[in-house]
């Protein structure tokens, strides 16, 4: 099937009109880094495609105590403009320079695991998705954004338009473990934010990537550290809890068993790094 039309709306409302006219048959792309490989290989054969590059969603705004990321903000622009260390770290660990110039922050929320490292960081940061339809906008916490593998709460007549990230003074730690140093799908990704009050954890969010059908919270691990100091035994208990509660899968990159072991290892490492400094970001390969 050759592609009949490629729509390039100049605004969100124009985009929503096109969506309404074509419904579920319309493939929506932004950076194209997920969809174009499938179209090029003949795996995806859409009749109609809509690209969002011109729709005005590529902004980065600081507003009071939150940062608003436009859904089609290219990842390179995020790196250049953000002062949120965890976002910068996750962005730099995503793909390669050329792909980062094209891929978008919002697109990362739709990336199939093991991809979606920025999604894991956003989940740890407590971000909220803004979803727009013709009847208006609604906000959905990222905790509730995904409903399963490659499925989200975004309805066929809606678009993800922005993601807002609360500015935090929490300590943060981000580790992506891949089989090579860069441009590699994750074996596991761990993103942690924690409010530390005199060494006691007052609230932690531990997000895992490549360890489930989408980015997930390791809530049992979070409970294990809440109200505790980050001692070796507390960290070990949290790491064990994360390993038990995650839902890893086997693919060409790693087996589920190996991913589970790496969740344990890197949750422990991320929590340890958290303790060592207020905000540390790193790569593991």
């Amino acid at each position: 099937m050759t592609i009949a039309n490629y729509y390039r709306p100049g605004s969100v409302s124009e985009a929503l009109d096109i969506l309404a006219a074509h419904g579920a048959d319309l493939l929506v792309i932004a950076g194209g880094t997920i969809a174009m490989p499938l179209i090029n290989e003949g795996i995806s054969l859409p009749a109609e495609v809509m690209g969002l590059r011109r729709a005005g969603l590529d902004t980065y705004t600081r507003r009071g105590d939150e940062v608003i990321l436009g859904a089609t903000l290219p990842i390179t622009r995020l790196v250049e403009q953000t002062d949120v260390p965890m976002l910068r770290a996750a962005a730099l660990r995503t793909a390669s320079w050329s792909v980062r110039n094209m891929a978008t922050v919002g697109g990362n929320l739709f990336a199939p695991p093991p991809a979606g490292d920025i999604a894991a960081a956003l989940l740890a940061l407590g971000a909220t998705a803004t979803i727009t339809g013709r009847s208006g906008t609604r906000e959905v916490a990222l905790d509730d954004f995904w409903t399963g593998f490659m499925t989200t709460v975004v309805a066929p007549d809606e678009l993800l338009t922005s993601i807002s990230v609360p500015v935090t003074s929490a300590a943060t730690s981000f580790i992506k473990f891949g089989r090579k140093r860069d441009n590699t799908p994750a074996v596991v990704t761990v993103a942690v934010t924690a409010n530390l009050d005199n060494g006691i954890v007052r609230g932690a969010r531990i997000a895992l990537g490549a360890a489930g059908p989408h980015a997930i919270r390791a809530s049992n691990a979070e409970a294990a550290v809440h109200g505790q100091p980050l001692s070796a035994s507390v960290i070990a208990a949290a790491a064990d809890a994360a390993a038990a509660e995650c839902e890893p899968f086997t693919d060409a990159v790693a087996t589920d068993a190996y991913r589970r072991q790496m969740v344990r290892l890197f949750v422990a490492r991320a929590l340890t790094q958290l303790d060592a400094s207020a905000s540390t970001q790193g790569r593991e390969a």
């Binding site: 050759t2 592609i3 490629y6 090029n40 290989e41 495609v49 690209g51 390669s96 320079w97 441009n183």
Partner: protein
Amino acid sequence: MASVIVNLEVSGRAVEIIAAPLTTLQSVLRNQLGMTSVKEGCRQGGCGSCTVLVDGEPMMSCLLPVEDVAGRKITTVEALSTPDHLDPIQRAFLDNNGYQCGYCTPGMEMIAKALLEHNPSPTRDEIVDALAGNICRCTGYQPIIDAIAAAASAGQEATR
């Protein structure tokens, strides 16, 4: 089918092309404009052999609908040399044996060009980071890194 007319600048030349919907920049450059330095290795954005510069920024042309770069300035390796003159990056690749089969070479040179424009004095680590999206199956990468490092110091020498 709704083909469109797209105007862009490619390696210093203003061009007007007709493209079917979602035709990639890679396809236009190779098949319509004869810019065959732009290679095709995977069409997945994974090998980097299709790398071109869009307003100076490296992108994977195999993933880029040509309509999305209408009005932009595209640079390919064809722009780097004339019959009498090689870009210092190309001279450095020659002198440091930064190639074997040559298939990844244009993509490597494009990334090198972008890198040295952004960062004229990169560390070896920064060169390696920049090359993360470009695969070479022949050289083991060291001669390519050497070539880019050599081009960087030649550039620094020239500006002194």
